[in-house]
């Protein structure tokens, strides 16, 4: 790579290989396409009007949130089996992105609900489970800050990540059965009478764009984590040399 070209790049792209550049470009194009389709291509929904366009972002971020937590669960299990730090980094990076995206889901859901249902929050099973899931992985990230020993931190975080994800279906079923029965609860779902083909295509394109964004963010977070580890290692070696010297 030409060094003068390298130096002229923005900080995030400095040192990036061809595959990274292709990924970034594809993601940018996909996001632009998603925005175009959300606002210009998809038809306006008859009942909710333009507000319904929030649905594409809401659904896509929810998907990425769940994918993020699934990757944390999987990477945690592999870390426990193999003990490689790489898997722990992946689990943590994915959990951070998952929490950020689920936070967006909760905020967009609240905005949407306020207009459509007249309430920011209802105890709908899906909403409740999503909130519980968010708490589980916020706890996962908090735990990491409370353990000093790196090995113990990685092990315990992996366990919490695994148990948290395994109980999600149980949580969902219990909340679903419970809230569906509860006489006071009003089960409201943001489901229209069915999606038109334009809406469906827009949703799929938005989901694909957000999946690409997840991969980009994951790679960036992983790079950041490995740089932090590298820095710690360099400091450690310097301390070692000083103590030996």
């Amino acid at each position: 790579m030409d060094r003068s070209v390298e130096a002229g790049r923005p900080g995030l792209l400095r040192g990036a290989g061809a595959s990274t550049l292709v990924l970034w470009a594809t993601t940018a194009i996909a996001m632009a396409a998603a925005l175009y389709m959300m606002f210009l291509y998809a038809p306006t929904e008859a009942v909710q009007g333009d507000l319904q366009r929030l649905f594409y972002v809401h659904m896509s971020t929810a998907l990425i949130g769940y994918v993020g937590f699934f990757v944390t669960f999987l990477a945690g299990a592999i870390y426990l089996a193999r003990g490689s730090v790489r898997w722990d980094r992946l689990a943590r990076a994915s959990a951070i992105i998952g929490v950020v995206f689920i936070t967006i889901v909760l905020i967009t859901g609240c905005l949407w609900g306020t207009k459509v249902w007249g309430a920011c929050w209802t105890w709908d099973p899906r909403l409740t489970t999503t909130l519980i899931l968010w708490f589980i992985y916020v706890g996962y990230l908090m735990l990491r800050g409370y353990v000093d020993d790196p090995q113990a931190r990685m092990r315990l975080a992996a366990i919490v990540g695994i148990v948290g994800f395994v109980v999600v279906p149980i949580n969902y079923m219990s909340v679903y059965w419970w809230r569906s029965l509860h006489p006071q609860a009003t089960v409201l779902r943001p489901e229209g009478p069915g999606l038109s083909s334009e809406m469906l295509i827009t949703l799929l394109v938005t989901m694909a764009a957000f999946l690409l964004l997840y991969v980009v963010l994951l790679r960036l977070q992983l790079k950041l984590e490995s740089l932090i580890d590298e820095l710690g290692e360099l400091r450690f070696r310097r301390l070692l040399q000083e103590s030996d010297g």
Binding site: L80, I132, L133, F135, I136, V138, G139, M142, L143, Y146, V147, D148, D149, P150, Q151, A152, R155, L156, A158, I159, V160, I162, V163, G164, V166, V167, I170, N171, M173, S174, V175, W177, W178, L181, P183, R235, F236, L239, L240, S243, D244
Partner: protein, 493 residues
């Protein structure tokens, strides 16, 4: 005692490196110890002696390198090797609220010692502890506690005895008898001990390894009365400008890397594991019976929660049964948070968790035993809460179906509470973190418990259509399985 250096080693460590945070506690250390051999570890504070003993005992995982004891791997998932190890470290491994006799009996059950009565009699006689047998271990003096630590380490007749400053806190008479005690109770064992007392080292050991900053820097043959010469040699090795590579130590003599055969040590079978679990459960129940620490506190806490909730919610008469059901299960969840945390944090604080980890007990068995104890305690607390809710809310909760439901809920709560109690036992601000981690995971129990209670009370007939008890049973099965599978990683090394 004649040492046959050509015989099979009881312990073999190859190229051990152990990094603790930002320091290398051990760097490329190799050693072998054969039957009947006494090896002293010497070196200044922070040279890695304790870390080396912990790695050999399987309490600490090396960053690199391998350890085998009696030919058995000491890596994660292996427990059989622990039957061959006796260990006495800096922290006591006895329960202060159990008597000396109870502590020794507990160890003999963990290690499945057959002739434990005669072993206990001989050990307590030779360590002059006969008159202390029925005293609480916590009431013993520091020196007497050290004798108890030696008795615990020697009781299972270990092939490898690991002692960290065994002479510490002992009176002069007992110190002078240490060699005789080893000869009487660990004649065939390989013994490795760390010490700063060079006179003890030259009296007790045949060989010394000198450590500095985690590296082996010298190896010396020892002879009785050679303390002065030893002092000079140790000072010389420690002052040396650079550490001697362990490769420089005569490998023929240390026999590193030699394949060693399994010396007949086997893992506990199914019956043995059940006996060990019974010993673990019995220990916790006995401790609770003696201290009355957990159940009364949880019962009072639950009652206070019932009162707090009943004051917080103003419910119309028709909603009282629903509120009562919610209060009952919410109180139980709070009791689980506190009880689950306590079960492991007490072990961590006392240092007795090391005693359990050192025992040749499957980690899954430790988890199941702890969950069983928590279940028993929580069931008692739950029944007391049930009665108080029934009386204070005037709801007909005292029924057989409710007792069964409560027991199932307590089992489910114990399965998750025990796991998260262990996860948070060794973290900072654990009392703040456990509710954050445990509550979201325990919510299905709250939901199913309340719904099933309403069904029993016939408040919502629809609730009866759903398998709430099945949900509780499913949750219990999944959590107990996960706990048993993952507990090896929770306790770590």
């Amino acid at each position: 005692m004649q040492v046959d250096r050509g015989s099979e080693p009881v312990a073999s460590a190859q190229s051990l490196t152990c990094r603790l945070g930002r320091t290398f506690a051990l760097r490329d250390v190799s050693l072998d110890v054969v039957r009947c051999e006494r090896l002293a570890l010497l070196g200044p504070n922070g040279s890695g002696k304790t870390t080396l003993l912990k790695v050999l005992a399987g309490l600490l995982a090396p960053t690199a390198g391998k350890v085998a004891v009696c030919g058995l791997d000491t890596g994660r998932g292996h427990v059989a090797f622990r039957r061959g190890i006796g260990y006495a470290g800096h922290r006591p491994h006895h329960y202060p609220d159990l008597t000396v006799r109870e502590n020794l009996m507990m160890v003999s059950r963990f290690f499945l010692v057959d002739n434990y009565v005669s072993r206990m009699d001989r050990l307590t006689r030779d360590l002059e502890m006969e008159s202390h047998l029925d005293l609480r271990a916590g009431a013993l003096s520091r020196g007497q506690q050290q004798r108890l630590a030696l008795a615990i380490a020697l009781l299972p007749e270990p092939r490898l005895l690991l002692l960290d400053e065994p002479e510490a806190a002992l009176d002069a008479t007992t110190r002078s008898r240490l060699g005789w005690i080893f000869e009487s109770h660990a004649r065939d064992s390989g013994i490795i001990f760390a010490t700063h007392d060079l006179a003890s080292a030259s009296e007790l050991a045949q060989r010394a390894l000198i450590l500095r900053r985690g590296s082996l820097v010298g190896e010396l043959p020892l002879q009785a009365g050679g303390a002065d010469e030893l002092r000079e040699r140790v000072a010389e090795a420690v002052r040396a400008p650079r550490a001697v590579s362990p490769g420089a130590i005569n490998r023929d003599e240390t026999q590193s890397g030699r394949q060693i055969a399994n010396a007949g040590i086997r893992a506990a079978g199914r019956v043995g594991t059940i006996k060990q679990m019974i010993a673990l459960i019995g220990k916790d129940v006995r401790l609770e019976w003696r201290t009355r620490e957990i159940v009364p506190a949880l019962a009072v806490l639950s009652l206070l929660m019932v009162i707090a909730f009943s004051l917080a919610f103003v419910a119309p008469a028709e909603d009282v049964p629903a509120v009562a059901a919610g209060v009952l299960w919410a109180s139980l969840i709070f009791a689980t948070l506190v009880g689950g945390l306590r079960s492991f944090s007490a072990e961590r604080d006392q240092g007795t968790i090391e005693a359990i980890v050192l025992a040749p007990v499957l980690r899954s068995a430790i988890y199941l035993a702890k969950a069983a104890v928590n279940f028993a305690f929580l069931t008692v607390v739950g029944l007391l809460t049930l009665v108080s809710v029934a009386v204070l809310f005037d709801v007909e909760l005292i029924r057989w179906e409710m007792i069964g439901l409560l027991a199932l809920g307590a089992a489910a709560l114990s399965s998750v509470g025990s796991l998260y109690g262990a996860v948070t036992a060794n973290v900072r601000a654990r009392e703040l973190l456990i509710p954050v981690l445990l509550l979201p995971v325990a919510l299905p129990i709250l939901i199913a418990g309340v719904a099933a209670t309403l069904s029993v009370l016939d408040v919502t007939s629809n609730a009866a259509q759903f398998p709430w008890m099945g949900l509780l049973a499913g949750f219990l099965a999944i959590m107990a399985s996960l706990g048993a599978i993952l507990f090896d990683h929770v306790l770590g090394d």
